[in-house]
C-alpha cells in the first residue's frame, strides 16, 4: 500500500493561501497577491499531476483494476457508535482525474486573471476567493463520505456566491449571486433528504462501503417500496436532485445564465469546468449504487440530462450575449454527461457510458474553459458582451481567434480533436440503450455545431463593425492559458480513458464505431455549414429564418419563460400565501407580546413612582406607619 498522505496538501494549500491573501492582500501590491495565488495553485497542480502519474501509471500493478484507496481519514464527529462523521481523502480513478481537471483549469484561470483583473479594485479579494473555491472543489472530489462531500458542496456554493457577486456594487450581479445560491440551496434540500434516507437505511456515510457490491446499499436494494420505487431509488433520486441543481439541469437551471454576471475567469472556472460538473461527479461517485441497486434512478438521470441538453441547445441558438450562449452550451454539454451516465451499465463494456461521461467531462473542461477565456479576451478588447456589437475581430485578435476556432471545432465533434472522441463514446452508449435518447443527442450535436459557429462567425467574421478604439489583442499573460488549453482540447482525445477510468476499475476494449461516428460527424458538419451560410457574411438570412420560426423563435429567445414562471410561483404563491401571514404573525403577535410586557411595566412604574416625591414629611409618614404596623404585627399576631 503506497503512501499518498501528501495529498492532504492538495486541498490544504489553497485554503491557507485563501486565508493569507484574504487577510493580508490589501497590504501588498495587487499583482503580488495574484502571483501568490497562482504559485499556490501551481504547486497544487504539480502535486496533482504527480498523484495522477503515480496512481495511474507507476504505482499501478498491470493487470489489476484500479482500486479506491483512502489516503487518510480522521474521525471528526463521533456522535454515537452508529453515527460517526469522518473527514478524509479518497483516491480513485474519477477523483484523481478530477484533481487533474480542477487544478489545471484553476491554474489557467489564475494566470489569465492576473491580466484580466488588472486595475480592478478588488484584485486581491478575487484571488482569495479563487483559492477558496479551489479548496472547496478539491475537498469535494476527495471526500471519503457523502457527508463530507455535502459540506464541501455547500462551501462550493458559497464560493460561487462570492465570486458571482464579485462586482457587489452592481445590483444585477447581487441579484444573480442571490439567485444562484438560493436555487442551489433549494436543490441541496433534496440532496440532504437523500443523504439522510440513504445513510439511515444503510447505516453508513462512507463511499467505499456504500458502493461495494457486497455492502448494505446494494445488498438490500429491494427494500421497502413507496409508490412502486424502492427506498434506495427514492434516496438516489433525491441525491440526484441536489446534483441537478448544482449542474443546472432542467428545471433548476435558471441560475446559470444569470451567473454570467460574474467576471469571465469565474465563469470559466466555476460555471464551465468545475462546479457545474459536481452533479455529474456525484452520480459518478455513487455509480455502483445507481447501476446495481436502483436502475430506475438512472432512467431519471438520463432523461433529465437528455431533455436539458435539447432545451439548452434550442435556447442557445437565439441568444446574443456571448457569455449566455456559452452558459447554455455548458448546460447542454452537462446534459450529455448526465445522459451518458444514465444509459450506462456497470462492468466492462456495459460501463461505456460511465467512461464516456468522465471522458467528456475531461475534454469539456478544456474546451469550455478555453471558450470562456477566449470570450473574456474578446470582451476585454471590445468592452461589450453582446455579439451585435462585434464583428470581423479576426483581424485584431489573431491568437484569440485561432484558439476560439479550435475550441468551436472541438465542441462540434469534428475529428481529430478531443470533442469527437468523447462525444462519439456517448453516442455509442446511447445508441445501445435507448434509440430516442440517441436521437435527441444526435439532434443536439447538430444544434451545438450550429450555435457555436453562429457565435464564432458573429464575433470574428460577419459585419465590419466600427469600433470606438481599435481592439487590441489580449496581453501575453492572458493568451498563454488560451494556448495551453487549446493544446489540451486538441490532443486530450488520445488519452486512453477506457483503460483508466471505468465503472468497475478494470480496463476494457473500446474502439470507434464508425457506423455511429460518421453520421454524428456529418451532422456536426451540416450544422457548421448552415452557420457558415447564415453568419459568415452579413446577410438577411438569419432574420428571415427567425421570422419563419415565428412564435418558436420568440419562445426560445425568451428562454421559454422559465424565469417568469419562477417569479410567478415565488411572488404570487409563496410570498403571498406563506410569507405574508408568517410575517404578520411575527410582527404583531411575537413582537406585540414583547411590546405588551414593556407597556405593563411602564404603567406599573408610573403608578408607584409617586412614592418617591422628595417630600420629607411623606417619607416620615410612611416610616412611622410602617413602624407602627410592624409593632402591631410582632406584638399581637406573633
Amino acid at each position: 500500500m503506497v503512501d499518498y498522505s501528501y495529498t492532504l496538501l492538495i486541498p490544504l494549500i489553497p485554503f491557507v493561501f485563501f486565508l493569507l491573501i484574504g487577510l493580508t492582500g490589501h497590504k501588498m501590491k495587487p499583482i503580488v497577491s495574484g502571483l501568490i495565488g497562482t504559485i499556490g495553485l501551481g504547486i497544487v497542480a504539480i502535486l496533482s499531476y504527480v498523484t495522477a502519474i503515480r496512481y495511474f501509471f507507476t504505482d499501478h500493478v498491470a493487470g489489476t483494476g484500479f482500486k479506491s484507496l483512502k489516503a487518510l481519514e480522521v474521525t471528526w464527529l463521533h456522535l454515537t457508535d452508529k453515527l460517526t462523521i469522518n473527514l478524509g481523502i479518497l483516491l480513485d480513478p474519477i477523483s484523481v482525474m478530477m484533481l487533474v481537471v480542477i487544478t489545471t483549469v484553476s491554474l489557467m484561470v489564475h494566470i489569465y486573471s492576473i491580466g484580466y483583473m488588472k486595475g480592478e479594485r478588488g484584485y486581491h479579494r478575487f484571488f482569495a476567493f479563487l483559492s477558496l473555491f479551489s479548496f472547496s472543489m478539491l475537498g469535494l472530489v476527495l471526500a471519503t463520505n457523502i457527508f463530507q462531500m455535502y459540506m464541501f458542496w455547500e462551501l462550493v456554493g458559497v464560493s460561487s456566491f462570492l465570486l458571482i457577486g464579485f462586482y457587489y456594487e452592481k445590483p444585477s450581479a447581487v441579484a444573480a449571486s442571490k439567485k444562484a445560491f438560493i436555487v442551489t440551496r433549494f436543490a441541496d434540500l433534496g440532496f440532504l433528504i437523500g443523504i439522510l434516507m440513504l445513510s439511515f437505511n444503510t447505516g453508513t456515510f462512507d463511499f467505499q462501503i456504500l458502493t461495494s457490491s457486497t455492502g448494505p446499499a446494494i445488498l438490500h436494494a429491494g427494500g421497502a417500496a413507496f409508490m412502486g420505487l424502492s427506498v434506495l431509488t427514492w434516496s438516489l433520486i433525491f441525491i440526484f436532485m441536489g446534483g441537478a441543481g448544482k449542474s443546472a439541469m432542467f428545471p433548476l437551471h435558471i441560475w446559470l445564465p444569470d451567473a454570467m454576471e460574474g467576471p469571465t475567469p469565474v465563469s470559466a472556472l466555476i460555471h464551465a469546468a468545475t462546479m457545474v460538473v459536481a452533479g455529474v461527479y456525484l452520480v459518478a461517485r455513487l455509480f455502483p449504487v445507481y447501476a446495481l441497486g436502483a436502475p430506475d434512478a438512472l432512467t431519471v438521470v438520463a432523461w433529465v440530462g437528455g431533455f436539458s441538453s435539447l432545451f439548452a441547445a434550442i435556447i442557445a441558438c437565439t441568444q446574443t450575449d456571448i457569455k449566455r450562449v456559452l452558459a447554455y452550451s455548458t448546460m447542454s454539454q452537462i446534459g450529455y454527461m448526465m445522459l451518458a451516465l444514465g444509459v450506462s451499465g456497470y462492468g466492462g463494456h456495459d460501463g461505456l457510458g460511465f467512461m464516456a461521461s468522465n471522458f467528456h467531462l475531461f475534454t469539456h473542461a478544456m474546451f469550455k474553459a478555453l471558450l470562456f477565456l477566449g470570450a473574456g479576451a474578446v470582451i476585454h478588447a471590445v468592452h461589450s458582451n453582446d455579439m451585435t456589437d462585434m464583428g470581423s475581430l479576426r483581424k485584431y485578435l489573431p491568437i484569440t481567434h485561432l484558439t476560439f476556432l479550435i475550441a468551436c471545432i472541438t465542441i462540434a465533434g469534428v475529428p481529430p480533436f478531443s470533442g469527437f472522441f468523447s462525444k462519439d463514446e456517448i453516442m455509442v452508449a446511447a445508441w445501445h440503450h435507448n434509440k430516442i435518447l440517441f436521437g435527441i443527442e444526435f439532434l443536439v450535436a447538430g444544434l451545438t455545431a450550429f450555435y457555436m459557429f453562429r457565435l464564432y462567425y458573429s464575433i470574428f467574421w460577419g459585419k465590419q463593425t466600427h469600433y470606438h478604439h481599435k481592439p487590441h489583442e489580449a496581453p501575453f499573460v492572458m493568451t498563454i492559458p488560451l494556448m495551453i488549453l487549446a493544446f489540451g482540447a486538441m490532443f486530450a482525445g488520445f488519452l486512453p480513458f477506457h483503460a483508466l477510468v471505468t465503472s468497475d476499475g478494470l480496463p476494457f476494449e473500446a474502439h470507434i464505431d464508425w457506423s455511429i461516428a460518421i453520421p454524428s460527424v456529418l451532422v456536426g458538419l451540416v450544422g457548421i455549414a448552415i452557420a457558415t451560410i447564415m453568419y459568415m457574411k452579413v446577410s438577411v438570412i438569419p432574420d428571415n429564418v427567425a421570422h419563419a420560426f415565428g412564435k418558436t423563435y420568440r419562445w426560445a429567445y425568451r428562454k421559454f419563460y422559465m424565469d417568469e414562471v419562477y417569479l410567478f410561483v415565488t411572488k404570487k404563491i409563496i410570498f403571498k400565501l406563506i410569507s405574508d401571514p408568517v410575517a404578520w404573525f411575527d410582527r404583531h403577535i411575537v413582537d406585540g407580546f414583547m411590546n405588551l410586557i414593556a407597556r405593563v411595566v411602564e404603567k406599573t412604574s408610573y403608578l408607584i413612582k409617586g412614592l418617591q416625591s422628595g417630600r420629607l414629611q411623606q417619607y416620615g409618614f410612611v416610616f412611622v406607619t410602617g413602624a407602627i404596623a410592624l409593632v402591631l404585627l410582632f406584638v399581637y399576631l406573633w
Partner: protein
C-alpha cells in the same frame, strides 16, 4: 414618693408627647417648627426612661445615664439641623418644607 403618682400617668404623658411630636413633624410647614417637634419626641423618650428607672429599678442608674446621653445628642443634632436649615435658606430663600422636594422621580 412612689405611692403618690402611678407609673402609668408618666407613660401616658410620654406617649401623648411622642405622638404630638410625630404629628407636628408630619404636619408643620416650617422647618424650625419641625425641629421643635423632633425635640418633643426626644424629650418624651427621656421621660419614659427616667420613669421606668425610678419605679422599677430604683437602685440602678442606667436609665438616668441614657437620658443624659440623649439630651447631649439632641443638642448636637439640633446644631447640625440648624446648620442644614441655614444652608437650605441660602439656596432656596425659604424654609418651607414643601419647597425642598427636588430629590424626586
Amino acid at each position: 414618693m412612689t405611692g403618690t403618682i402611678p407609673l402609668q400617668y408618666f407613660l401616658i404623658i410620654s406617649t401623648l408627647m411622642f405622638f404630638i411630636g410625630i404629628y407636628g413633624f408630619l404636619t408643620r410647614k416650617n422647618l424650625i417648627t419641625m425641629l421643635m417637634s423632633i425635640e418633643l419626641i426626644l424629650n418624651s423618650v427621656n421621660i419614659n426612661f427616667v420613669a421606668f428607672n425610678r419605679y422599677l429599678y430604683p437602685q440602678n442608674l442606667q436609665g438616668h445615664f441614657f437620658t443624659l446621653i440623649i439630651i447631649a445628642i439632641a443638642a448636637a443634632e439640633a446644631a447640625v439641623a440648624i446648620a442644614i436649615i441655614i444652608n437650605i435658606y441660602r439656596n432656596f430663600r425659604s424654609i418651607d418644607v414643601d419647597r425642598v422636594d427636588e430629590m424626586k422621580f
